[in-house]
């Protein structure tokens, strides 16, 4: 049974902040097939398209029939632990300060033998479910999880290195004026976040459901205007060293395409509220978060972007909005590379139209802010990097994978 995580004590200001170190981050190009699966929380291995052999470690030829057709496919994750060891000394600086560290050999029911991290509740002979997770270096590793959930299993120290669980972490939600920010605050409170800072521009101005937000446990309202660089800088100066998870809930969806909009005012507002706000947050909170990637139980862990799935492919009905979201996605990819040195994950939550006033004329299915907030907490708990939330987002992703040109035409029809 996993020991329940203890609420971290206030940090001793005289102690040196532990510098973030990373496990080895080099992988072969083929092995990034595992990274792609881990980024989405899937368990996928290469399955030979010619002979059906499931193989691991990743290869460029099938060891059964020498075929080169070796796509990654989701496979059953069940297996048995054949042997385990506790590593007590390591040549690597990251693991050296994290020993003892348990690994084992798991025979998967689908064939391969896996050298893998072991969850603390998994012992020799146990049945396990394998999962692929992203480690601090941003690359996929496997961890064998208990066959059935155990008490406090999310608190396991080795698992917590691979996740961004909000439990006992301090969260900044950048915009609490909208329904998504408010739902996010509730979800974080339910997930055990110790403080939830919620940014509100001009807090003296009332806004819908303000009373409920203020009454949400552990919520602390801060005055934050994402379109004002000085405001972002001021809040970062005050709070950046206490932000373990940043969730950018700023939104500015406006309907309309490119050609029929008159002038650039709306487009500039969109870019200011979304793209430039992301840059402001990255510049003022990013460096401090990156430096705090190994700062104890509540180390900095994640920078979360809520993106429209139409960042991936333009939806002409919301054409300018889609373009703004695409800019945000591109910036998020840059930020992901920049924060990796600190072991901080950048999560991109891709959503379809939300069930809010700004998508009033769009027919269902639409995504409720609560569902988006719940999915965000789930992604943080699993350490997922790219999450497609709801029916529309998953539909768009599937069509994009299958036939992007068809999707472009269909969205423009």
């Amino acid at each position: 049974m996993t020991d329940e995580l203890i609420r971290p004590r206030r940090k001793d200001p005289l102690r040196k902040t532990r510098e973030p170190l990373l496990p080895q981050g080099v992988r072969s190009r083929t092995a990034h097939g595992l990274t792609a699966a881990a980024a989405e929380g899937r368990f996928a291995l290469q399955v030979c398209a010619d002979c059906g052999f499931t193989l691991y470690p990743p290869r460029d030829a099938c060891p059964r029939c020498l075929s080169a057709r070796l796509p990654f496919k989701d496979v059953p994750p069940n297996g048995t632990v054949l042997a385990e060891t506790t590593i007590r000394t390591s040549t690597d600086v990251y693991f050296r300060e994290r020993t003892p560290w348990r690994i084992g050999t798991v025979a998967l029911d689908c064939g391969p033998f896996f050298v893998t991290h072991l969850h603390g509740d998994v012992t020799e002979g146990a049945r396990v479910k394998m999962t692929l997770r992203l480690d601090k270096s941003g690359n996929a590793v496997a961890i064998a999880m208990p066959d059935r959930p155990t008490e406090h299993q999310e608190d396991d120290v080795q698992l917590r290195e691979l996740t961004c669980d909000p439990k006992f972490r301090r969260v900044l939600i950048t915009d609490g004026r909208n329904a998504t920010g408010q739902a996010m605050a509730r979800a974080m409170a339910a997930a055990g976040a110790s403080i939830i800072f919620v940014g509100v521009a001009d807090p003296w101005k009332p806004f819908p459901n303000e009373t409920t937000l203020r009454a949400t446990p552990n919520v602390e309202i801060v005055s934050l205007d994402l379109t004002d660089t000085q405001s972002v800088a001021d809040v970062a100066g005050e709070l950046a060293h206490r932000v373990d998870i940043l969730v950018n809930t700023a939104e500015h969806p406006r309907s309309g395409g490119i050609m029929h909009r008159n002038g650039l005012t709306i487009a500039q507002q969109e870019m200011d509220t979304r793209y430039f706000a992301l840059l402001r947050l990255a510049q003022h909170f990013g460096p401090t978060m990156r430096a705090r990637g190994a700062d104890g139980t509540n180390a900095a862990a994640a920078f979360v972007n809520l993106l429209s799935v139409h960042a991936l492919i333009n939806w002409p009905q919301y054409g300018a909005f889609s373009a703004t979201e695409a800019a945000c996605l591109s910036a998020a990819q840059a930020l992901r590379a920049e924060l990796r040195g600190g072991g901080i994950k950048v999560l991109n939550m891709f959503a379809g139209p939300l069930d809010t006033e700004w998508f009033q004329s769009v027919p269902p299915p639409k995504l409720s802010p609560t569902a988006l907030a719940t999915a965000t907490v789930d992604a943080l708990r699993k350490g997922i990097e790219d999450s497609y939330v709801g029916d529309i987002a998953q539909d768009i992703k599937a069509r994009l994978d299958a036939q992007p040109k068809a999707l472009e035409r269909e969205l423009g029809a």
């Binding site: 072969s28 060891t85 506790t86 007590r88 000394t89 390591s90 040549t91 050999t105 050298v115």
Partner: protein
């Protein structure tokens, strides 16, 4: 087709360059020292050495070809054998055939590596593609962790205890004290062994080799050339190698020796009881046990009982790793694959000094190496006889 013998080809000039824990010198330097010692021992000039076979992990960016210019050699036969602990026997097999076929007259076989302060970590993290993709990110325990899993599985399946492994390590330390060239010569008791600090359970400190710098070398030539140079020599009775054997075993429980040992014994025309000493590859005692079983000294799973009922010191009834093996002498990278072979040549040419096994006429040397992912891929063995 039946394997052809190695008639007329012999091994001579066993060279060991004293090991050092850390060295500021390069692998080139260590190989140079070994070759220099070889020329001095044999009276050959560097230009007479027309064949060169080298095993080394720390020679980058060079391979053996670069060494020819570095060392001023002009060989007509050249080999690079990147097979770690199996390298000595593999070099021998290839070089012996070259000499037999007349492609070369004098082949220098050298295993050598340097060990800078940070060499070991760098070697581990980039050892192989599978190690990089699928082993090193998992705790970076190196071979200690890989062998911990293999040892654990072996203990589960055979009932072997830590004390059984300890018998191997303690006996080798006794041998090392007689050898004199070992980095670890301090007496080792069973209590010391059992109370050592854990490294990766069930592996404890004295199950592990100490990475170091060093070089081992020997010469392969025709019997009549060895005679005319007045060099004591040994004959090759038989030799085997096998790679990636038993791929479907979930955890390594046996090595490639088991696939080819019938050939090994049949080619030599002898049985295991004819062997006077055994030099195994011993980076961890579990792999010694597998060699004892898979080479045919006892049945599978019975090595723990075998080591309990035999004495493994040079004066015992089953002399094993007579110079102390890597567990006591140190693991000088790829030189570890040549250590047992060089010691065997000393044993069979009356050059073993204090480690001499009385009346040693036949010796078996086996090699093992390359933990590419979860198991050692390369295995090799040779049977040698006093001339």
């Amino acid at each position: 087709m039946k394997r052809r013998g190695y008639d007329g080809v012999v091994l001579c000039a066993p060279i060991s360059i004293p090991y050092r824990r850390y060295s500021v010198d390069s692998a080139h330097w260590w190989i140079g020292r070994a070759l220099h010692a070889l020329t001095q021992r044999t009276g050959l000039r560097p230009t007479d050495i027309d064949g060169l076979s080298v095993s080394s992990f720390t020679l980058a960016p060079d391979t053996t070809i670069g060494l020819t210019q570095h060392l001023g050699l002009s060989p007509r036969w050249l080999d690079h054998v990147p097979m770690g602990g199996a390298g000595g026997c593999v070099s021998l097999r290839r070089a012996a055939r070259a000499v037999q076929a007349g492609d070369a007259d004098f082949v220098a076989c050298i295993g050598a590596d340097t060990n800078h302060v940070d060499s070991f970590r760098k070697t581990l993290s980039s050892f192989s593609r599978f190690a990089q993709d699928a082993v090193y990110p998992y705790g970076s325990g190196g071979p200690n962790a890989s062998f911990a899993l293999i040892t654990r599985n072996y203990m589960n399946r055979t009932g072997a205890t830590r004390e059984d492994f300890g018998r191997i390590c303690v006996a080798q330390r006794t041998n090392a004290q007689r050898y004199g060239g070992a980095l670890m010569q301090k007496p080792l008791t069973m209590d010391d062994y059992l109370n050592a600090r854990p490294i990766a359970d069930p592996i404890h400190l004295f199950d592990c080799v100490m990475p170091c710098a060093g070089a081992e070398a020997f010469l392969i030539c025709r019997e009549d050339d060895a005679k005319s140079l007045d060099l004591p020599y040994v004959r090759i009775l038989s030799a085997i190698e096998r790679h990636n054997a038993y791929q479907d075993d979930p955890i390594q429980f046996r090595g490639g020796w088991a696939m080819d040992r019938d050939d090994l014994w049949a080619m030599a025309g002898i049985q295991p009881d004819a062997v006077d000493f055994l030099q195994t590859y011993d980076d961890y005692p579990v792999i010694v046990m597998m060699q004892i079983e898979d080479l045919g000294f006892c049945a599978k799973g019975e090595a723990p009982a075998f080591v309990r009922s035999h004495t493994l010191t040079t004066d015992g009834d089953f002399p094993h790793n007579t110079s102390g093996g890597q567990l006591s002498v140190g693991q000088a990278g790829a030189a570890g694959g040549h250590l047992g072979l060089v010691e065997a040549i000393r044993q069979l040419t009356d050059q073993a000094g204090n480690t001499a096994v009385p009346n040693a006429n036949i010796g078996l040397v086996s090699g093992f190496g390359m933990i590419n992912y979860d198991r050692g891929l390369a295995s090799s063995a040779v049977l040698l006889a006093r001339a």
